[in-house]
């Protein structure tokens, strides 16, 4: 979590005025380094795109430039694929379930995370009450113990709660979501509180004078003004949740309940060379939501990172 957040809050390069470019003789080494890095960093991306559209779905047959571009891999991803003996080797329905499960879990977690931490951040930012400092400090301390370290306890708790309340026990998406929400506050609340502090208090005071209640100020004044930071935290939370493997693999137990990491992990580990083509197609599709979210929220993200202050 922390690295991504730090990256997004890091200062973005100030745009420099374009001068006439320096000569290639002085800068060839810069280009050399950059080109090397681009090749290494894009090589897997290029390969997965090529494998996804390559007609021959086994790993051995693939080359970087597909001999013929086909959608066979995508088709077998959704419809299943027959092997020599005529059995479907890819349980067709499952990829869709994994994808849907991931979207449900990551989407619900991200939205609730934003809401819960915004509520708390508003209280810490706008009210002065006993235990305020203590509350913020203990949030930070509790968060020092990552949920992952308590994975055994989480598993045992969900296991035992599920004995009585099946809908929130092992192998349910709801259990996974509420477990993730346990880590919703903490860092996010701190981040948001910092942002709320920069929203001038006069704005809510004038709303209060007009007769608005604190709840109305929160929903009507503070939240709309905090849109950039809300977007950033939604994105971070969505991607972090999407990536989570360990807890999901322990709580979810059947194929149809898996999320993308758990499903794709066991899929590619099963029959490696045979599954490579559809796997590549699956990876390509799975990368889309995060990329889209990134693109849509980019405006807010850049705004949230660079301005830090609020424009009226």
């Amino acid at each position: 979590v922390s690295t991504r957040e730090a990256e997004l809050t890091a200062p973005v390069a100030a745009e420099r005025r374009r001068k006439k470019g320096p000569s290639l003789a002085d800068t060839w080494w810069r280009h050399a380094i950059a080109l090397c890095a681009v090749v290494v960093s894009l090589f897997p991306v290029a390969y997965i795109v090529s494998a996804a559209f390559n007609g021959n779905n086994s790993l051995t047959g693939s080359s970087l430039i597909p001999k013929q571009v086909t959608f066979d891999n995508f088709r077998s991803l959704f419809q299943g694929q027959k092997n020599v003996t005529g059995h479907a080797t890819f349980q067709n329905a499952h990829y869709l379930s994994w994808f849907a499960n991931s979207m449900i879990v990551a989407g619900a977690t991200a939205l609730c995370t934003v809401l819960l931490s915004a509520l708390a951040a508003y209280a810490f930012s706008r009210f002065r009450f006993k235990g305020r400092r203590l509350g913020m400090l203990s949030l930070l301390l509790i968060q020092m113990f990552p949920q992952l370290l308590a994975i055994v306890a989480i598993y045992l708790i969900v296991f035992r709660v599920g004995d009585i309340f099946h809908f929130i026990g092992l192998n349910t998406l709801l259990a996974l979501i509420v477990v993730y929400l346990g880590g919703a506050m903490g860092v996010n609340t701190w981040l948001m509180k910092g942002f709320f502090d920069t929203i001038p208090a006069e704005l809510d005071e004038s709303a209060r004078v007009d007769g608005a209640t604190p709840a109305q100020v929160f929903w009507g004044v503070v939240l709309p003004l905090a849109a950039p930071v809300l977007a950033v935290i939604t994105l971070i939370s969505f991607i972090t949740t999407l990536n989570e493997f360990a807890i999901a693999s322990v709580i979810l137990q059947t194929q149809t309940k898996f999320t993308l990491p758990v499903g794709l992990f066991q899929y590619i580990n099963q029959a490696y060379s045979e599954h490579w083509g559809p796997f590549a197609a699956g990876v390509l599709i799975a990368a889309v939501p995060a990329a889209l979210l990134f693109a849509f929220l980019q405006r807010y993200i850049v705004e949230g990172l660079t301005s830090g202050a609020v424009k009226g």
Partner: protein, 517 residues
């Protein structure tokens, strides 16, 4: 927009929403309370009532609970799935909770009495036929193979069966009995479950039990429990098994009765990490590798990221923006996908990497190559981050400082070492520490690539690339020899203290760094 939102949430709408929210909370907790009472979970009921009452009070009282109204929703989840798991982790770490030590003590005693059975010394054996009585209950028609007498066995006991009501088949077994109906063919598919717990008591703790579908034997308990002394006695030789205080009944010879029970064992899980060679050696190996892995990933990524940033931090460099976008693309792909893809690319038989270089290196299956691969892929994932961070930090260093140093006669290398790098580190060092803490517990990078493997010869669990957190996961969830929750949670607590200590020490160092600069 704000004014519209305010009017929407004012007056009746706001009130309705609030009432709806509170009613749902109360309805849910009443329902949950009824279910909990059904299960006799009285402590949970008490907690539930207290929590619901507190929530109601907070949202209905007018003034002084105002901040709490905003804090409660998040806090509920924080308590339930962050604080309680941490407390429970500490709790489990002091128990022997593991395969074979799951039950409570009274459950374990009952289990031993029920399930540890041996064939009675001079017990009869029967040929058995499964039948249904008029009420469709399962009964056993039994033919004593020595005396030829016939019986009807039910869960209530054994009754003699007059021979004239019995018809035998050519094998000499009972074919049918008057007044009872034979099982239908379709029933045999599911009869296993019904038979597995079926026993016909014959007095003295002995019982007739089905063995398969057509024979039954008299079984008697292996152990006799003595409540007064809290011991088990093995009936055949009189050996006494005593409560060893660690959740098992153990004989003087070291024999142990299965199952044991869950109990507190003090610091034993921690002392096993120090004293038990079988646990200590793999643990230390994993610890050293974890430290090496996290450190090398952070430093290599920082070095490469910085190199890239320096290369691209040249005003007016052509394609600068293009390079930057291309270099950050891998970072926009969710990491788990990249990891799984790399696992495929590095496959030794089919992997692209081996085919490009015309090699056949077992990238993921040889202990040393696997370590190299894991570090390489992790660095690949982390470089873009340090590239962005370093670029930002480089550009925020005032140009006057470096120019002044050059005017004073510093060479390019000297200026970098004495001016740029220290200033850069002030900004980047805290991020490096955070990245270290992150990679120290970077479960995904290890598990999605190698699952911690390949196996090390001397440990059934720890693999060459296992870091502490994946080792813990395997101890708790995937170990073939059984799952050890107690040991796993103990290691989890150690990980926390290791990371906390390292972070605290290095953060205080960076403060010092800041003062220097």
């Amino acid at each position: 927009l704000p004014t519209r939102l305010i009017t929407t949430f004012s007056g009746t709408v706001g009130l309705v929403l609030k009432i709806a929210f509170l009613s749902i909370v109360n309805a849910l907790s009443i329902w949950a309370g009824v279910v909990l009472i059904d299960h006799n979970k009285w402590r949970a009921v008490a907690v539930l009532i207290a929590a619901t009452a507190a929530i109601d009070a907070i949202y209905l009282v007018k003034r002084w609970t105002l901040p709490l109204k905003f804090l409660v929703p998040g806090t509920v989840f924080l308590l339930a799935f962050q604080v309680i798991p941490v407390v429970y982790t500490v709790n489990v770490a002091f128990t022997n909770y593991s395969t074979g030590h799951i039950l409570s003590r009274s459950e374990a005693i009952a289990n031993i009495q029920q399930n540890s059975l041996t064939e009675a010394a001079n017990g009869a054996s029967y040929s058995m036929t499964l039948l249904r009585d008029k009420d469709h209950n399962l009964v056993l028609a039994l033919l004593d193979e020595d005396s030829g007498k016939t019986f009807i066995g039910t869960e209530a006991g054994l009754q003699p069966l007059p021979r004239d009501r019995v018809e035998l088949n050519i094998d000499g077994a009972i074919a049918s009995v008057q007044g009872y109906s034979p099982l239908k063919g379709s029933e045999f598919a599911t009869i296993d479950k019904e038979l597995s717990g079926y026993k016909v008591p014959v007095g003295g703790g002995k019982a007739i039990r089905p063995q398969g579908f057509d024979t039954a034997v008299v079984l008697e308990p292996t152990y006799r429990y003595n409540q007064r002394t809290n011991t088990f006695v093995r009936i055949k030789d009189g050996v006494v098994f005593r409560d060893n205080g660690r959740g098992s009944y153990v004989a003087a010879t070291g024999d142990e009765i299965e199952p044991g029970w869950k109990t507190y064992i003090g610091l034993r899980n921690f002392s096993r990490l120090v004293h038990s060679k079988l646990i200590r050696d793999p643990f230390l190996k994993v610890l050293v590798w974890t430290l090496f892995f996290a450190t090398s990933v952070v430093f290599l990524s920082f070095a490469l990221g910085l190199l890239l940033a320096i290369a691209l931090n040249k005003p007016g460099l052509r394609f600068q923006r293009t390079y930057r976008v291309l270099l950050v693309i891998p970072y926009a792909v969710p990491a788990f996908l990249s990891l799984l893809v790399w696992q495929g690319l590095l496959n030794d038989d089919f992997g692209v990497v081996n085919r490009i270089f015309h090699t056949s290196i077992p990238w993921l299956f040889d202990p040393w190559w696997a370590r190299v691969s894991v570090i390489f892929v992790s660095v690949w994932l982390t470089v873009p981050y340090f590239f962005l961070v370093s670029l930002g930090a480089l550009q925020s260093i005032p140009r006057e400082l470096t120019e002044a140093a050059q005017v004073d006669g510093g060479g390019a290398m000297q200026v970098f070492r004495k001016v740029t790098l220290p200033l850069l580190l002030v900004a980047v060092a805290p991020l490096m520490i955070a990245s270290f803490a992150f990679n120290f517990n970077n479960f995904n990078n290890i598990y999605l690539l190698t699952q911690g493997g390949p196996a090390l010869g001397d440990s059934p669990i720890a693999g060459a690339t296992d870091i502490l957190i994946s080792y813990t996961y395997k101890i708790a969830f995937t170990a073939g020899k059984g799952q050890d929750y107690g040991l796993a949670t103990a290691i989890g607590i150690l990980i926390f203290f290791i990371v906390a200590t390292i972070s605290a020490v290095s953060f205080s160092r960076t403060k010092a760094l800041e003062n220097l600069a």
